[in-house]
Subunit: 346 residues, 4 copies
């Protein structure tokens, strides 16, 4: 059991010191977390409002979860703003773009194409985590610059992966959304560093991570000061290699029940097969996902990375059309038939 | 590589003997399979029509799959009729009912309730495969009789599990669809025995079976003489026990691409949680499933088995309503947005 | 919690009826099990000796395990006799022979060869569970006859797999040890049928089975009347296909701690690679296994099944030599350094 | 296919430039790697010595492995020296100590105790990768200092985990062996940074990493300039949670066959249970491991981390005694019965 409380700062600093003293007297470990100017205290164990009478506390909420700040019970985390786009607010958000930024023409062309088809965020990898040291490792800083240019030209905000704690600060100036990749889901120094950034974070699920571990990884980011976490299900590892990974769509309703965080699905890495991207995208939305992140390349057969799972622009337009038909059906707008709102659909 | 050919019986028995002789001369292992009066020959390796000129062969088709008869390339298997219901023909089929038949009132009440809500097949277990020898093992033959009675009262065809080869013959007289459970997916004597039955078979995926192994299990049934196989994805085993099993929805478009068999999804066993049945049902349909099999109990908290994952009748009506909204959107009928027809949706 | 008690039959049948009545009055489900003339009662929940005063009870033992009869706490199961060989009694037992019986010369030659090298039980498959319906399915009844002949010639008892409940009775007359294969570990009708046999059973772990499920499967056999169960670890399924299966040697000390059953290890199926059979055999013995079951073929490259994982007779002699050096080191005899006796080794 | 060649530097720098030019003319990607003063070139694809006649090349070796420098075929990597201890040279090396450094007395007492019992390297965590942000995270820099002091007092070299690339340089001055933890096995910036260090690296296998991915991670380190990699099998994730992880001992003979790197086994994390550490240690050595890394705490019940899997000093002495009996048997010295030398044992 853990407890979160919101500090009432109207009473000034003295009250906060008194509160921390009271918790210390009670023998409770407590951590102060500041999220966008609001102060919260995370306390081990259960604390009730009556234990803290006379102290500057707006509310006190306890949870059995090991990730109190991101838990649904606390109600601290919710929809996340990426540039002018809101993720988790009800409208389906589609992020699209190539696995890797390969050059100016490729990324600008893709940006304009996916925007025209209805995508609202541009994705593109500059620092690539590759299993083999001799594989193409991405264009690095140059790639980030090209992505930034594609963003300016298209007007789309961009998401790209950051791999090293030391790159977080400068990349926060260039990207609108920082991706933490599946292999880094438990890279705790990196989680703490993006937690100190002012940019929102797209946290991919590790290929070996339980849902519980994933939410604890999100708690690392939030407890470091950054409430803007978007979860991304991208497939886990299984015994069957018929698909590259095993897309766990049941994680979508599960994390929405357990936490307040938005969740998007990556059907490209989740399946590794272009011909499965459309059905699994539809399935993800039907399961309640707040968005998708899809690999799109102007010419998949020439891609330096992951061409087998990339859509071309025509296929991406087909996907957007299919999504429109699906979501349009649900009250004439991008309403996702989540487990909570299912009665409304009938 | 394997080859399937259809025998042209118009030429009489002599021609068939000649054909088998020719294959033997070519040094090819060949097996004759009779499906609803049509004779097929399955041959190891590639054979072309020109190798068999002058022999009674309608067509010859080769495939790289290790399950030639159920492969999409052969085109032998397709929609399956269960009583008056067709599975895989375009209309979504919902099978519903309790985990176990517990008594007359329970099963008749459930049958009438699920029928009224729109289900078209009644499910109910009489022989229950239980992990523990001291758990409730089902009502056995008595349960089958009660199920039959519920079928008469409601007019719904019924599906129930058969566990022993020796039970196949008599249960084929009582049930409209024979279920082979996940634990028996590679019980080869049972597969061969249901393959000799005239009843269609619902073949659940083993909890640790690859898609390739699942289709080979289906091939056991079909190569024994029964073309009526419906696949059922019911969740596989993973490292994360947050859900009872891991529902692998990517298997839906995959098996539809690889084979001609219909596929239904079991979100009840697939998640083990009542609150996830609706979102995962919607996701299954969006992924292209031909149907669902859902646990429904008039009073889940009193169920002898699997109450945690059973819907009550109100919840089941909610599910059917949500499915109606989803599928209604797609051209005003129960059309599944499969990977092949996705362009039509746009 | 479950309870096992031994009935004191000296008091005659009346006492037993009184005992069952008392348990029924207490509202306890109870099952009477007869093992080699001794009567046990398995009761749900905890029962103490004082609850049963005046009744014919020798002892009462409770356990938290869901497999009371095979649990270590009950002390009912122990070493198993196969012909004149004792498994689990302290001496390492090596079972060896081909994957499949292919003909008279092959099986007799192998029998004599493995006996000369020190094996004490002959293995050989006649009914083969094959993933594909068009693969070689074994010689069936003819194979069982050949195995019997090899047994007569060599003097070795034999183990072979039984796949169908209807084959159990006649095969019990031919084989000394009945194998239940990994795919049938939860084939409950088969488990009950071998439980009614007078022959001991080699119960392979399912490739998807937890240790807990495996021991419950053993409980099916024992609670049906047969105390002679030998467990066999043969590798489970994992995400890494570098080896055919993942040999779980930690299961060896674990099941020895949890139950009284002997356990042997199959390094051939467990790795699928001939070059790993010797190191993994040594490791299995060091972990405390009571025996090994190893595939040996006079000419592995010609084997109809599993040649890649079979040793030839020279390699088998090398294995036996290596085992001798390992076990000889431990007090000059085949003593296994199990977790319990480890202090003695120092 | 990849090729490794050793440059003959006797011919001076001009020859090296010519060699790289020739490879470029051949259209081959090539990377120059310097390992302890010796220069190697890694080339994509197959190159033969005759392609490079007249150029300064000592030898040319091709391999199908995607990790050419660590492959057995190249013969570049081998035993690793840690302080005065050689790992992989034939003598079994035991690393022991607490999960976390908790204070001066704890670590010095453990160091002296494990040394007296026969350990040759001291382990202790200062930076701890913890799943939950509110768990004890280790003493950090202070812990490294205490470990260094325990090293001075006991004379044992020390191994400790490094989590951040920015910590590698200073920790290389303090520790004799740098551990990369399981969660960081594919933290590529960290792998490259320890690859630029002069200290050897203990590379733990990721809990969901294939053997192939593990060896490619080792290739990241070596191709960055550091040939001193010791692999550590510490258990992978499986569906069965009866043990904390699933210790994959078959990985031991497999990596010894595929690569020249030494491999040690961690039975503490591999099982998570104190009572299984001794049997699994014996099994690891029997499978051919070059060493063990074992958690030992003077008072496991008071440990801040992983007490359930830690031995106390008495138990550790029992383990060392058991290992002595096992290895003493094999020619009277610490000779491991690897798959290659098994004939010698007979």
């Amino acid at each position: 059991m853990m407890t979160v409380l919101e500090v009432d700062l109207g009473l000034g600093g003295r009250g906060l010191a008194d509160l921390m003293d009271r918790l210390a007297e009670m023998g409770r470990e407590a951590r102060l977390v500041s999220l966008e100017g609001v102060r919260y205290v995370v306390v081990h164990g259960r604390v009730s409002a009556s234990d803290l009478s006379g102290l500057p506390v707006r509310w006190v909420r306890s949870t059995g979860a090991s990730y109190p700040l991101v838990s649904r019970e606390a109600g601290v985390c919710g929809p996340v703003r990426v540039g002018s786009v809101e993720v988790g607010g009800g409208d389906l958000v589609v992020m699209a773009g190539p696995c890797s930024v390969e050059g100016r023409d490729q990324i600008v062309c893709t940006a304009l194409g996916v925007k025209e088809a209805g995508a609202s965020i541009l994705r593109g990898g500059a620092f690539k985590p590759r299993t083999n040291p001799y594989s193409f490792q991405g264009l690095g800083g140059i790639g980030v610059g090209l992505l930034k240019e594609a963003s300016r030209v298209s007007g789309l905000p961009v998401v790209t992966e950051v791999m090293s704690p030391e790159d977080v600060e400068w990349m926060s100036e260039e990207a609108d959304l920082l991706q933490v990749g599946a292999r880094n889901m438990q890279n705790f120094p990196l989680l703490r560093e993006v937690g100190r950034s002012h940019r929102p974070v797209l946290l991919k699920r590790g290929m070996m991570a339980t849902v519980d571990e994933w939410l604890q990884a999100a708690e690392y980011v939030v407890s470091s000061g950054n409430p803007g976490v978007i979860l991304c299900e991208r497939g886990i590892r299984s015994f069957d290699r018929a698909t590259r990974n095993l897309l766990d769509l049941s994680a979508v309703p599960l994390v929405k029940r357990l936490s307040g965080l938005p969740v998007v699905v990556d059907p490209s890495h989740g399946t590794g097969r272009r011909d499965m991207v459309i059905p699994m995208s539809l399935a993800a939305v039907a399961a309640g996902a707040d968005g998708l992140i899809v690999e799109v390349h102007p010419s998949p057969k020439d891609a330096l990375c992951d061409g087998d799972q990339s859509l071309d622009l025509d296929e991406f337009r087909d996907l957007m059309g299919a999504l429109g038909a699906l979501t349009g059906a649900l009250n004439g707008r991008w309403e996702v038939p989540s487990w909570e709102r299912v009665a409304m659909l009938a």
